[in-house]
Symmetry: C2
Subunit: 334 residues, 2 copies
DNA sequence: TTGTAAGCGTTATCAA
DNA sequence: TTGATAACGCTTACAA
């Protein structure tokens, strides 16, 4: 079907080697042959076969990305960062999701192996010993984004969830809040759950505020878990003046339930979210929230990976700084 | 580095042909050799090279996806549909974005061509004559999602934006609204802009309501364009009782500005959005909005494409039904 | 400056 | 049931 360098060679009356040289701009041929080859290539609508080239070069110029099922703007931003950098460096990205709580993770890794991606980026998936094992056995360079493992040798880029949560709660305390609830975090999630809860606790303790475990409402980071938490605060802990949420969506849930119960944010209750997702500035009131630089995370991760591929250097893990984006959902108490 | 079938053949003492047969479960070998080959393959941690296979089979089992720069949950859902179907059929998806208003579209298509994807899905990108031309010249099967061209022969799947807008406005009219504004649509966008505006106009006309072009506030589907539109309504058209928005984000902008001006939704003003994005049920009040079945669109599109690849049949364009999701942002006037 | 030919890891044809 | 071998489209010594 499509023309190959053989076709060009035949039509142009040169060898395939020469065609290859011209196509790849390698030099070492006179202008005349170059012109002829280029003309024929154009006439035949030649398009190089990246696959065949990969085979001999033993490099596919491809980055694999594995992420969880969830489809939020969160991943969109990271992907965009990855794709931009890949594009700039002549790499393509091949994408797969690992299924709810990583059910499909092994198939995903296998697929990436068979496709011979040059590097692998795993986003937000919690990896256990078995997965790390098969990941290493793939023999493919990889980096984790927004997640990590308990092994030293697995490189990652993420923010420090503990200290980000600490910052957020500290901000509430600075605004004179003393009875602060927490909502939306899953304590069994050792990446995004427990560290944020611990950050919350530490901030309170550092200010000599007694920690009341009843004020920590577990959840799954969802809007609904925020709603439910606020319902419980209203029923049993009317004394709460502020809530720190483990996600923006949970924060919106808090606000929504407040609204239904005629409580005003931030007048009656203050709220801080986590993610700085697109919705956080669309809410009423605009949400004060912890920002993770997602796009940059995607970029940086992909950049490190490609550098590592090209220079065969080890990837350094990196904790990137978070930021508290202050909008209008927190009231300063006097 | 990684073991090949040659290595297996050598170690197992059989020919590479036999190894290939065993690996691919083709039958025609006795149990003993099968066991031996499988054992050696395992021992050597053999992993097939999908690339090499692609070369001889002239099929990469790969679907290319091109979409615009924008990173919203909108695309996430579509991608997920595509990826799920691909996965189920043993295809991989390779993703690229075409840049702001398609700036990178040619490079993207080129890339997909060089990667020899078996099929191509283009999401939401407006295609002009030049692009369609080079798309056809690629000789790759493709389908458009949530967009179309003015040519008969380019298959697409999308909802009918005109009639979806009509439905939304009609609903407002049924609720006895007579002075209805429109916000957020870009009239120059022939896919998602003008058809929605026209649907709005037609619905009014069919109910003998005079169309006031001043009530149509153009925009770019963003939160900000919604805010701006509402500001203008408040200043110049206080008589407006309802606003139809070309996106949920614009609708949130409307609500936000209303809130700042002490107008309550839906008590003082009713709002209908478009997209049924995740935020639409998180807003205050929950948003009545037009739903496009994004995930299904991704699935169906990918399904048609793969069917077309495998059976060499032509892809039929399809207009899929929209739905009006009724929540709480519209008030019935008496 | 150009061509010949080997080889990348497979599949597939044909013969044994 | 098995094995040789050509082929897929390309890059890259090496030779001319």
């Amino acid at each position: 079907m499509a023309a190959t360098i053989k076709d060009i060679a035949r039509v142009a009356g040169v060898s395939i080697a020469t065609v290859s040289r011209v196509i790849n701009n390698l030099g070492g041929y006179n202008e005349e042959t170059e012109k002829k080859v280029l003309a024929v290539a154009k006439a035949l609508e030649y398009r190089k076969n990246e696959n065949a080239r990969s085979l001999v070069q033993k490099s596919t110029k491809t980055i694999g990305v594995i992420m969880p099922e969830v489809t939020t703007a969160f991943y969109g931003d990271i992907i965009k960062g990855i794709e931009d950098v890949s594009y700039e460096h002549g790499y393509s990205v091949i994408l797969t999701h690992a299924g709810m709580s990583g059910a499909r993770i092994h198939e995903s890794m296998n697929l990436m192996g068979e496709r011979r991606v040059d590097g692998l980026i795993i986003v937000s998936v919690e990896l256990h010993e078995a997965e790390i094992e098969s990941l290493s056995s793939l023999g493919i360079l990889f980096i984790l984004l927004s997640t990590k493992t308990n092994r030293e040798d697995t490189p990652y880029i993420k923010v420090d969830d503990f200290s980000a949560a600490y910052t957020a709660v500290n901000y509430l305390i600075e605004n004179n809040h003393r009875i602060i609830g927490m909502a939306g975090a899953n304590p069994d999630d050792s990446i995004a759950g427990s560290p944020r809860i611990n950050g919350y606790i530490q901030a309170l303790q550092d200010h000599s505020i007694k920690v009341d475990l009843n004020l920590i409402k577990a959840g799954d980071f969802s809007f609904e878990s925020g709603k439910k938490a606020m319902q419980e605060f209203i029923e049993h802990h009317a004394e709460v003046t502020a809530v720190f949420c483990a996600s923006d969506e949970a924060a919106l849930g808090i606000i929504s339930t407040c609204f239904e119960n005629d409580l005003q944010v931030p007048k009656d209750i203050s709220v801080v979210g986590y993610d700085n997702s697109k919705v956080s500035h669309m809410s009423i009131p605009p949400l004060t929230t912890v920002a993770q630089p997602l796009y940059e995370m995607g970029r940086e991760g992909c950049l490190s990976l490609i550098a590592s591929i090209q220079n065969k250097i080890k990837i350094e893990s990196k904790v990137i700084p978070h930021e508290l984006v202050i909008r209008k959902s927190v009231k300063k108490l006097s």
